[in-house]
Point group: C2
Chain length 490, copies 2
C-alpha cells in the first residue's frame, strides 16, 4: 500500500495556506453545527454576493438550448439575452457539450482581444490569448513552461498569493522573494528588487521571471503607473519575463487610484524585449464567478513557437471547461447601452462595486481602531493584510532567523486557530503569504455582508484583547508548545 513517505517530496512540501489546517478545522466545526464566517478566501458568492443576472441568463439558455424555441422563454428572458445565446450557439453549435480547440473558442479569444484593446487603447491579438480554467491554471502553465532547470525560479512578492510558492515547490523551481514596502502602501521598490535579484544570483538562484500581483493579494495595494514602469525597466535590464496577475483589475476602490495594465504600460514604453504574461479571471472583479473556473492568459513579446508550446501544454488536458470559457466571454462582452439587459446590468454592477468599496473602507477603518492591529485600508482587491502585535514577539526576534520564522509561524497559527474556535471567524495566518521577519499578520477578506462587517470587527477586537490577556498569563506554557503548533500549521 502506498505510504505518505513514498510520495513525491515536492507534493509533500507544497503548502497552500488559504486552504490549510485552519480551514480544515473550520469545516470540522461547521459539521458540528458551529457557524463559521469564511474570511479565508476570495469567494464572494459564498458570502452572499449575487451573480450578475445577464451572465447566468445566457449560461442557462446555452445549457438548455431547447428553451430558445419555447414561446414561454420570451416571458423569462430579455430579448438581447436570447439573441446573445443564439449568437454563441451559431459560433459553437454544440454549446457547452463539446471540447473546444485547445486554446479555447476562437470567438471568445477574439472578444478578449477586443476587450483588451478597448480597455487599454492598444492592439491585441487573439492568437496570443488562451482561455484557461481560472487564472490559477494559467499561472501554473507559465511557471511550468519557463522553469527549465532546478537553479531557475521566479521572483515573487512577499507577501504573495501562495499559488505561486506552491506551484514553484511542485515544479522544483526557486522562490526568490522580494519584499513589498509595507511602510509605503505595499508598493514595489527598485532597490529591493535589485538586491533580491543579485542576492539570489549569488546563491545560484537564477530568476527567469517576476510575478507581480496588481491589485495586490493579500495586500490590497494598487500599483501606480510609475511603479509599473519601474518594474518593466527592471525586467528588461535583468532579462526577466513578467507574470502580471491582474485578476482584481476591476476591484479598485480608493479615490485617485486606478488600474494600469502591464500590457498598456509595456506598449506605452514601446518595450519589445520583455515577455509579458497577463492573467485575468471571472472569479473576482464584480462577477465573483469562482465556481465557473474561467479565465485567460494573454502573452506579449513571445515568438510563435513559444505560443505553440503553450497551446500544446493546454492540449494535454484538452481544453478549459466551456461554461467557464463562456463566462469569460460574457465578462469581456457585457450588455451594451441600448440593449434590454443593460440597465439591470449597470445597477447590479454598481451595487456590487459600491458594496465592496464600502466594506473595504469599513473593515479597514474598524481594524485600525483596534489597539494592537494595523492595516493599510485596501485600495483594491478583496483582502486586508492585518498586522498584529503580540507581546511575545519582542522577546524572540534575537533568536536565529530560522527559529524566529518557525516561532512566528507557530504564534500566528495559534492565534488564528484560537480566533476560529472562539469566534467562528476563519482567516489565514500571514506566514502563508510571507512577511518581513519580526512582523505578524493575518489575511482576511472583506466579503461578509456589509451589515455584518462592524459586528465582525467588534468580535475580532474583543477576541484580540482577551487573547492578549490569556497569552500574558500563559506565557511559560506557550513557549513550550510553540514548536508543535508549528507542525500543525504546515
Amino acid at each position: 500500500m502506498i505510504s505518505r513517505a513514498a510520495l513525491n517530496p515536492r507534493v509533500l512540501d507544497a503548502e497552500y495556506a488559504v486552504r490549510g489546517p485552519i480551514v480544515q478545522r473550520a469545516q470540522q466545526l461547521e459539521r458540528q453545527g458551529k457557524q463559521i464566517i469564511y474570511c479565508n478566501i476570495g469567494n464572494p458568492q459564498a458570502l452572499g454576493q449575487r451573480p450578475l443576472t445577464y451572465l447566468r441568463q445566457v449560461l442557462s439558455l446555452i445549457e438548455y438550448p431547447e428553451l430558445l424555441d419555447a414561446p414561454a422563454t420570451r416571458a423569462l428572458y430579455p430579448g438581447d439575452i436570447i439573441k446573445r445565446a443564439r449568437l454563441i450557439l451559431a459560433q459553437q453549435p454544440p454549446g457547452t457539450g463539446a471540447y473546444t480547440q485547445s486554446p479555447g473558442l476562437p470567438f471568445v479569444r477574439q472578444a478578449v482581444a477586443d476587450f483588451i484593446s478597448r480597455r487599454d487603447g492598444i492592439p491585441a491579438d487573439p492568437d496570443h490569448i488562451l482561455l484557461t480554467d481560472g487564472a490559477s491554471k494559467a499561472a501554473q502553465a507559465v511557471l511550468q513552461a519557463l522553469i527549465a532547470k532546478p537553479d531557475q525560479g521566479f521572483m515573487i512578492p512577499i507577501p504573495q498569493y501562495p499559488l505561486y510558492s506552491a506551484t514553484l515547490t511542485l515544479l522544483g523551481g526557486q522562490q526568490i522573494g522580494y519584499h513589498l514596502d509595507e511602510g509605503n502602501g505595499w508598493q514595489l521598490n527598485e532597490q529591493i528588487l535589485e538586491s533580491s535579484f543579485t542576492a539570489a544570483r549569488r546563491a545560484r538562484q537564477n530568476a527567469v521571471g517576476i510575478v507581480v500581483i496588481n491589485p495586490g493579494n493579500p495586500t490590497g495595494a494598487v500599483l501606480t503607473q510609475d511603479n509599473i514602469e519601474m518594474i518593466i525597466g527592471f525586467a528588461h535590464r535583468r532579462g526577466l519575463a513578467i507574470i502580471a496577475d491582474e485578476v482584481y483589475q476591476e476591484n479598485v476602490y480608493r479615490p485617485g487610484s486606478r488600474f494600469h495594465s502591464f500590457a498598456r504600460v509595456l506598449t506605452d514604453l514601446a518595450e519589445r524585449e520583455v515577455t509579458l504574461f497577463s492573467l485575468h479571471s471571472v472569479s473576482k472583479g464584480l462577477l465573483g464567478e469562482c465556481g465557473h473556473r474561467g479565465g485567460y492568459l494573454e502573452i506579449r513579446n513571445a515568438p510563435v513557437d513559444v505560443l505553440a508550446e503553450f497551446v500544446k501544454l493546454q492540449s494535454i488536458s484538452l481544453c478549459a471547461n466551456v461554461p467557464g470559457q463562456l463566462a469569460t466571454y460574457l465578462m469581456v462582452a457585457p450588455p451594451q447601452r441600448g440593449e434590454a439587459s443593460y440597465h439591470r446590468y449597470q445597477l447590479e454592477r454598481d451595487a456590487i462595486f459600491e458594496d465592496l468599496r464600502a466594506k473595504a473602507e469599513a473593515l479597514g477603518a474598524a481594524v485600525n481602531a483596534i489597539p494592537g492591529m494595523q492595516v493599510e485600508i485596501p485600495a483594491g482587491a478583496m483582502y486586508a493584510f492585518v498586522r498584529i502585535e503580540l507581546p511575545v514577539a519582542g522577546h524572540r526576534t534575537k533568536s536565529r532567523s530560522g527559529d524566529a520564522l518557525a516561532e512566528a509561524t507557530a504564534r500566528e497559527a495559534s492565534y488564528c486557530m484560537a480566533l476560529l474556535e472562539k469566534t467562528g471567524i476563519c482567516v489565514v495566518p500571514g506566514s502563508g503569504f510571507g512577511q518581513q521577519p519580526g512582523t505578524l499578520h493575518f489575511r482576511t477578506t472583506f466579503l461578509p455582508p456589509r451589515d455584518q462587517i462592524q459586528a465582525l470587527v467588534d468580535r475580532l477586537g474583543r477576541f484580540h484583547q482577551s487573547y492578549l490577556r490569556s497569552q500574558k498569563s500563559a506565557l511559560p506554557r506557550l513557549r513550550r508548545s510553540a514548536r508543535s503548533d508549528a507542525t500543525g500549521c504546515r
Copy 2:
C-alpha cells in the same frame, strides 16, 4: 524575449498526438472552407450526439435560479427536474457561483460513493472520492503524487492514451510500456507484464504503478474478469499501485462483454495491499459532456495521510469547476423510475447506446472489408485502432530499431496527412499511441452520424487504394523525404 529553446525541455518533449499537427492542419483547412470530419478525438457532441435532456435542464436551472420562482418555468421543466434543482441549491446555496471544498461538493461525493456501491455491490467512502476537472486532471494528479524520483515511472499500455505518456514526460518520470496483445483482442498478458517490468528494472526504471484503460483507448477492448484478476495479482506481487482509467465503463457494446470495475474485483479478491485509483468522467459514456470537464477519482487502499495529500494538491487550484461537479452528480444520480423525466431519459439513453453500438459494428465491419486494413471490431469505448499495410514496410524492418520507429512514424504521418488533405477525414497516427514495431495503425473514432459511416469508410477505402498506387509510383522520392515528414509529426 523568451525563446523556445529556453523553455522547460520536458514541456518541449511532451507530445499529444490527439491534438497534434494533423489536427492543426485540419483546423487550417476548415478555416479555408474545407469540410472536416473530426475522427481524431472522442468528442461525441461535436459530431451531432445530443446531450441527455435531464442533465441540461437541471444545469440551466442552477445557472439561473430565478427561474425556479417563475410560474412559466413549470411549463418548461418537468416537476422532478425543478425538485432536483431545488435539492442541489439546498445543499449548495451559491450553486455554480462559488468555490467548493477542495475535493468537491460533499453531497456529490456521497452520490458518487452510492453509485459505486450500487454498480458493484461493494462499500464506497465519500472521503476517498475527489471531484476533478475531467478524468485527465485526476490521472495527472496521481502521476504527480506517486512519482517521487527520476528513476520511477508507470507501466503504460502500448497502445495507450497519450495523456499518460505526455504527463510522464512533463513530470520527468519513466514510461514503461507493456504491449497489449493485438492477436488476442488487445487483452493484457501476464508474461508481457512481467517481462516489461523486469526489463525496465534492469534498465533502472522502477515502476511504482500500472495504468490500465478499460474499456480500452485506443483499442476498444473490454477486459475480462480473469484479466483484471491477473493484473491485480501482478500489481500485488510487484508492489504497484493501479490507475484504472474506466471512463468508457458504459460504452460496452459486444454481446457477452461486460464491464468489470477494478474496485469490485479488488474487493472480491479481498486485496488490501494494492492501492487503486479509479477514474471516471462525464465526457464519455452516454453523456458525452466533454465541454463540462467533470469527473472523479476514487482511491482505495490508501492511508488517510495519503488522501490528505491529494486534497492538498487539488486545493492549490482551489476546486474543480462546479458545473462539471454537478454534471458528475447528475451522471451518478440520474432520474429514477416513477419520476417525470425517467421515460425521456431512458429513451435518449437507449438511443445513444444503440447508435454507438451500431456504429462500432458498422465501422469495424466496413474497415475489415478494405484490402490492406484490419481492425478488431470495437467491443467498447469510442475508437477503432486500425492496422494498415503499406508496401514499403517490408523493405525497412531490417534497419536499426530507432530508425525503423522514426520511419514508421513518418510514414503514418504522411498517410494520415494525405487522408486529411484528400478526404477531410481527420484521424491520429498509431505512433501517437504506440504500437508493435513493424506495424502501422491509425486511430479513428466511430462517432460520426450513423448514416454517414458507410460513406466515410467508402471514402477511406478509395483513398487507401489510391494512396497505395501513388506510393508505389513515388517510392524513390518517398524514401528521400521520410525524415523531414517525421519532424512534422512531432
